[in-house]
């Protein structure tokens, strides 16, 4: 049996929070995939991605945040304000500004915790955007050095980049074996990386890949089920409602294009020379240019990624998860729908939030969609 318990455990229990409570160094909370966590490790701190899918925390935040706001932003804010677990342990929060919600969180959360805002350019493909972002990354470097009191040197940064590249290589290897586990399990593996120690996670992931490869050799058949691609807003534990409905109804999420799934660990930092300047530029590029968040003006990269995954995994249907009140994913869904329709690939758009009230409705729509795709 492949050892998926380890990953599931990290996501669903407070084990990591307990470990870090005993850790006497600095813990840096991050959000999204824009933060170069290699810098955090090189400065001697521990990075933890704090994006939350907790409905209770979202409710708790309505004391100081509007009700009509992205549920993920509310959940994150509620968790930080509540100060429990990992959200309570973070010494510094690094907040990128992809969307309105996260922008304002930059100032709202500053009341409860130290926040370093990482300004994101509205376009990622121009040379001025790249220069601007590089400046932001350099500012972050200084802020981290100040936090930990340790300089980021050529050696420590190189070691961090090489470790993260090793993790990415293991992740890409896992993506090739993903059909041997359920989509839900794959999400757990991805989300375990939010908080786990990078080296330990990498070793565990490599071990998992070895197990899966052995399994593939003896019994390579994957479970049946309608082959689905899940995309849109991320499904972050405990908000796994949608994937639960999909796989419960007979679908198999064989691929996903979400920032808390496949895209989390996908990009390597490829360098030919290892001086600080080259490393910082490469890191900045990696954290900006290939990111498929819909917050940028142009959504072409995301479309390409979806189309490529659809072909590579012989996907039969695409499920677009629209988190209610997120204009960005909502607007982009039209372009995605159009491209998929042109290629004759059915798409189901599910607009939902963290509450369980619409589960019945969603289940009906999911079941109808799966039925339609099957025929």
């Amino acid at each position: 049996m492949p050892d998926l318990e380890y990953f599931r455990d990290l996501v669903t229990t407070e084990r990591r929070a307990a470990e870090l409570a005993a850790f006497d160094g600095k813990v840096v909370g991050t959000f999204c995939n824009f933060v170069p966590e290699e810098l955090i490790v090189a400065a001697g701190a521990v990075p933890v991605r704090l994006c939350s899918g907790d409905a209770a925390a979202a409710g708790a935040s309505e004391v100081f945040l509007p009700r009509d706001l992205c549920p993920s932003v509310k959940a994150t804010a509620g968790a930080v304000q509540g100060g429990q677990g990992l959200h309570g342990r973070a010494d510094l929060l690094v907040m990128p500004t992809p969307c309105d919600g996260k922008k304002k969180l930059g100032s709202v959360l500053a009341e409860f915790r130290a926040v370093h805002v990482l300004d994101l350019p509205p376009r990622k493909d121009s040379s001025s955007a790249r220069a601007f972002w590089l400046d932001q990354v350099k500012e972050l470097r200084h802020a981290l050095e100040k936090l930990t009191g340790r300089s980021i040197t050529r050696q420590t940064l190189r070691a961090a980049i090489e470790l993260f590249n090793r993790r990415t290589a293991a992740w890409r290897r896992f993506l090739g074996l993903r059909h041997l586990v359920s989509g839900t399990d794959a999400l757990f593996v991805a989300q375990a990386s939010f908080s786990d120690d990078v080296l330990r996670y990498t070793e565990r992931l490599e071990a998992l890949c070895a197990e899966l490869e052995a399994k593939a050799r003896t019994n390579g058949a994957e479970s049946g089920g309608v082959r689905l691609l899940l995309t849109g807003a991320p499904l972050i534990w405990p908000n796994h409602k949608v994937i639960g409905l999909l796989e419960g109804g007979g679908g198999a999420v064989v691929a996903d294009e979400t920032c808390a799934g496949s895209q989390r660990l996908y990009q390597p930092t490829v360098l030919r020379e290892w001086n600080l300047r080259a490393m910082l530029e490469a890191l900045a590029d990696k954290c900006l240019k290939p990111q498929t968040c819909p917050c940028f003006v142009d959504g072409g990269d995301r479309l390409n990624r979806i189309l490529e995954l659809v072909e590579a995994h012989a996907v039969q249907g695409v499920v677009y998860h629209n988190l209610r009140l997120c204009a960005l994913f909502d607007i982009e869904s039209f372009a995605v729908q159009r491209e998929l329709r042109q290629r004759g690939i059915p798409m189901l758009t599910l607009a939902t939030d963290f509450s369980q009230e619409d589960t019945g409705q969603l289940k009906n729509r999911v079941d109808a969609f799966l039925e339609m795709v099957r025929t």
Binding site: R130, R154, P268, V270, R272, W274, A282, D285
Partner: protein, 328 residues
């Protein structure tokens, strides 16, 4: 080390040894430098020795290549000279097409088949610059970048140098400027090409640092000091000379021909920008081109760094006559 880079390094070393030291390895029996007779006006190529035909011997192979093999290599080297020297010399003398044709066909064939792969894999000057980059990396020093306006300026400069040299070569074949000027501007590009100063040194022979025969020759050969110094900027900017080299500009015209191409799958590309960031000659086209599959820039030297470093399998491909040779 990446496999393609390893293969390229081996090729570069071999070509370097063959081109520069070919005259030492394979001895050619023919002595071509005749004695100078004072008072007798110089009319033939071989009698013009003041700019230093330091090589008294003919080259091993009577061939010109679209890369920096050079007439001034000690003991002649393997190839006769570069394509620009070939054109320049023969435009001046208005050599008959029959005599020129075999050489021209050979140069054309290499240019059409391989384009600036010659620069990336064969040219000894390029190999030297790659050696400088290697040294810089060993010292852990970062590279410098050229501003877009500088890059544009250098682009214009190299094409201007190319066409001006060819035009002057034609012009001095006629008596209009007088014998003095004609003589002084013979092989004008060679007079300030850094290879003329560098290559003889590599073979242990002294080149002519300043040709005092006339004001023109003095000026031109002193320009050679400038280009020689610029060559060493290759320590801070990878392949710096390639951005000025007129031979490269000439070969670059053949780069977009359909024979050797780099092609990109738009859909597999994740826009990570690694190709643009790691390119030694700062080509952005592989990253910026979003429409057509062919992404071969006229400056591309086919070092294939982009292809090797691309994290997406199958995204970039090297094709020869439409057939894939290697992919990312």
């Amino acid at each position: 080390m990446n496999r393609i880079t390893l293969l390229r390094r081996i090729t570069q070393v071999l070509c370097f040894v063959v081109v520069i030291y070919g005259g030492f390895i394979w001895r050619h029996p023919i002595e071509i430098l005749p004695k100078i007779q004072p008072g007798v006006p110089r009319t033939t190529l071989y009698e013009r020795n003041r700019i230093l035909w330091v090589s008294a011997k003919e080259s091993v192979a009577d061939l010109y290549i679209p890369a920096l093999a050079c007439r001034f290599i000690a003991k002649g080297g393997f190839f006769k000279s570069c394509s620009l020297h070939f054109l320049s010399e023969n435009f001046t003398w208005r050599t008959s097409a029959r005599v020129m044709m075999p050489h021209l066909l050979f140069v054309l064939a290499l240019s059409l088949l391989f384009g600036k792969l010659m620069c990336g894999w064969v040219c000894p000057l390029g190999a030297l610059m790659d050696g400088m980059t290697w040294l810089r990396r060993q010292c852990g020093k970062a590279r410098r970048f050229l501003s877009p306006s500088t890059e544009r300026f250098l682009f214009n400069t190299r094409h201007t140098l190319l066409w001006a040299s060819l035009a002057i070569s034609v012009l001095i074949g006629f008596p209009w400027l007088g014998a003095g000027a004609n003589d002084a501007m013979f092989l004008i590009y060679c007079q300030f090409c850094p290879a003329r100063l560098l290559y003889p040194e590599l073979g242990g022979v002294n080149p002519c640092w300043a040709d005092r025969t006339s004001a023109i020759t003095l000026t031109l050969t002193l320009c050679g000091w400038l280009t020689f110094a610029l060559f060493f900027l290759g320590f801070v900017v990878p392949r710096f000379w390639c951005r000025i080299c007129a031979i490269g500009a000439l070969t670059g015209y053949f780069n977009r021909g359909a024979i050797l191409t780099i092609e990109k799958s738009q859909r597999k590309c994740t826009s990570c920008g690694t190709c643009a960031r790691n390119c030694p000659v700062d080509i952005k086209m592989v990253y910026t081109e979003r429409g057509r599959p062919v992404v071969t820039d006229p400056q591309c030297q086919f070092c294939l760094t982009c292809l090797e470093d691309c994290p997406e399998p199958g995204c970039l491909e090297l094709k020869f006559l439409g057939k894939r040779i290697v992919k990312s």
